[in-house]
């Protein structure tokens, strides 16, 4: 690990100013992803701004009937919140399907959204990786691609986004609230937070340098039956091969987002109009530009079947 200086942030405004002005600065929240990557020097911040002391750990109702989730709310606490379990169960379910209880006790809302890919070549400094070292190539293209994305990829990178929570937040039309170094705040639709890799897979989000996430805002509850169905190589404590976040209304219509198959939570509001009449058409729409390899072509079939299973779950839950 590279040496670094360390400070505890005292206010959101000060944290944003420091992050933009101290060379090589990074925020640290739970640390469960950043510290992991620092140990193998894939991340090497010269300065850490510990945001854990900031007053961003509250879950509050919004005036229009939604929920404002502070950036520092731990994954455990968000999943355990009575309002989330009652009104946004797809989010509680997605959180509980991720990582382990120990990790969820530390992991934060903002850190979860900004966690980096689990592509094994990204983690191995001996391998070419455009995300880790722009222009070096992508070892995954000629490698083992079982865990990789099949849509939204490029010739430069085929990494999948690993977050379960983000898939549920996408299906809930969440927005991310931020503060920048000049003190200005803005809201970014979750759909616009993560970038597709294109020719620049090292640029992963639309945040400015030093921009601090302060909260995630959910609109009023969508109603319906909520399901988060995750398929993985073992029953727990493993990343998704394919996951489905489903909010299904009594008439069979609803919303669908997929995880494990793309560089960001994957949803298509046009395609999901077919949900009531022809669920496979929704998957076909979502995956119409899929580029697979023999290692991961199964994900197309698996996505269809996982959506079928999620719909069956929703039906039997009513």
């Amino acid at each position: 690990m590279k040496a670094f200086t360390y400070e505890r942030a005292t206010s959101t405004a000060q944290a944003a100013v420091r992050a933009a002005s101290v060379p090589g600065a990074k925020f640290i929240a739970g640390g469960t992803n950043l510290l992991d990557l620092m140990k193998i020097e894939i991340e090497a911040p010269a300065h850490l701004i510990d945001v854990n002391g900031l007053d961003l750990a509250k879950i509050e109702p919004t005036p229009d009937g939604g929920l404002r989730i502070g950036a520092l709310v731990r994954n455990t606490d968000l999943a355990a919140d009575a309002g989330v379990r009652r009104d946004y169960p797809v989010l509680a379910r997605a959180l509980l399907a991720g990582a382990s209880p120990q990790l969820r006790n530390r992991a934060t809302t903002a850190g979860n959204l900004l966690q980096r890919t689990r592509c094994p070549y990204f983690y191995d400094p001996d391998q070419a990786c455009n995300k880790r070292e722009p222009g070096s190539g992508c070892a995954a293209l000629a490698g083992w691609r079982r865990m990789h994305a099949i849509v939204g990829t490029s010739d430069a990178c085929i990494a999948a986004h690993p977050s379960d929570m983000a898939v549920a937040m996408r299906v809930l039309d969440a927005e991310v609230e931020t503060m920048r170094a000049d003190g200005s705040t803005r809201r970014i639709a979750l759909a616009d937070l993560h970038r597709l890799p294109g020719a620049t897979p090292h640029l992963e989000t639309t945040l400015d340098a030093g921009e601090l996430i302060t909260a995630v805002v959910l609109p009023s509850p969508p109603g319906g039956t909520h399901v988060y169905r995750k398929v993985r190589d073992r029953a727990s404590y493993a990343f998704a091969l394919v996951s489905v976040a489903l909010v299904r209304q009594p008439d069979g219509s609803g919303r669908v987002a997929l995880g494990g198959i793309a560089p960001k939570p994957w949803r298509d509001e046009d395609a999901e109009r077919a949900l009531a009449s022809d669920p496979h058409a929704v998957v076909d729409g979502l995956l119409k530009d899929a580029r697979t390899s023999p290692d991961n072509a199964f994900k197309i079939t698996l996505a269809r079947r996982t959506l079928d299973a999620a719909i069956a779950d929703a039906r039997s839950a009513r």
Partner: protein, 216 residues
């Protein structure tokens, strides 16, 4: 100097091998090879920082390299070697301690982030002659073979029962909005962050079930 760099190469390789076998499915990735790590130049001198941990009830003043994890602070600086380092990457649970009342992976937390925090390790749960009920149950049920994962399993299960008592839900719940049930499926799912390379799982669950049954 970085603790993990100081580890002897044979041990590091043995651990890396064990880690891949244990948790390939969890993340399908592992620490960079030693060669790549050695090739990257040291950026600069260590940065030292003072902090206080309250470990098992006693205040411990330390001055540590900011890079020191909570796990290394406990093991290498406070010589509380009950807490184990399995993977050092959040993939096995051997390093589980209770910090601020919650079980966490001590390997994925910096000691400086815990300045002022209350930390309970396996040494703080009980001692020979005065075992914690969970420690006694693990002995009674022979809930280990090599014992390497055991301190993490015990700290984790003690905090897990507390989570259940507080109604924190798990992936095993049929209805996530309902109060969690004390079923074997719930206990298993809730212990999935602790991997046992010896596969002592059935006895581990028996030990935990006994303690859970005694104090719901």
């Amino acid at each position: 100097m970085n603790e993990s760099d100081a580890m002897n190469p044979a041990r590091r390789e043995a651990l890396a091998l064990g880690r891949d076998m244990l948790v390939g499915g969890a993340a399908a990735c592992w620490a960079g090879s030693p060669s790549a790590r050695a090739a990257s130049p040291r950026r600069d001198a260590p940065v030292m920082r003072k902090l206080t941990l309250r470990v098992n009830g006693a205040a411990q003043a330390l001055e540590l390299d900011t890079r020191t994890t909570l796990l290394d602070a406990l093991r290498e600086h406070l010589h509380l070697t009950g807490t184990k380092k399995g993977c050092d990457h959040g993939q096995c649970g051997a390093c589980t301690v209770i910090a601020g009342g919650r079980r966490i992976n001590a390997c994925l937390s910096l000691a400086v982030m815990h300045d002022g925090d209350e930390v309970t390790t396996i040494e703080g749960l009980g001692k020979p002659g005065h075992l914690h009920p969970m420690q006694a149950a693990f002995v009674r049920h022979d809930a280990y073979q090599c014992g390497y994962c055991t301190p993490g399993q015990i700290c984790s299960s003690v905090a897990m029962l507390e989570e259940l008592r507080h109604g924190i839900p798990s992936h095993a719940a049929a209805d996530v909005a309902a109060a969690p049930a004390w079923t074997p499926d719930e206990l298993r799912e809730r212990m999935s962050g602790n991997i046992c390379r010896c596969g002592a799982y059935s006895n581990i669950i028996e030990a935990i079930t006994e303690v859970a049954g005694a104090q719901p």
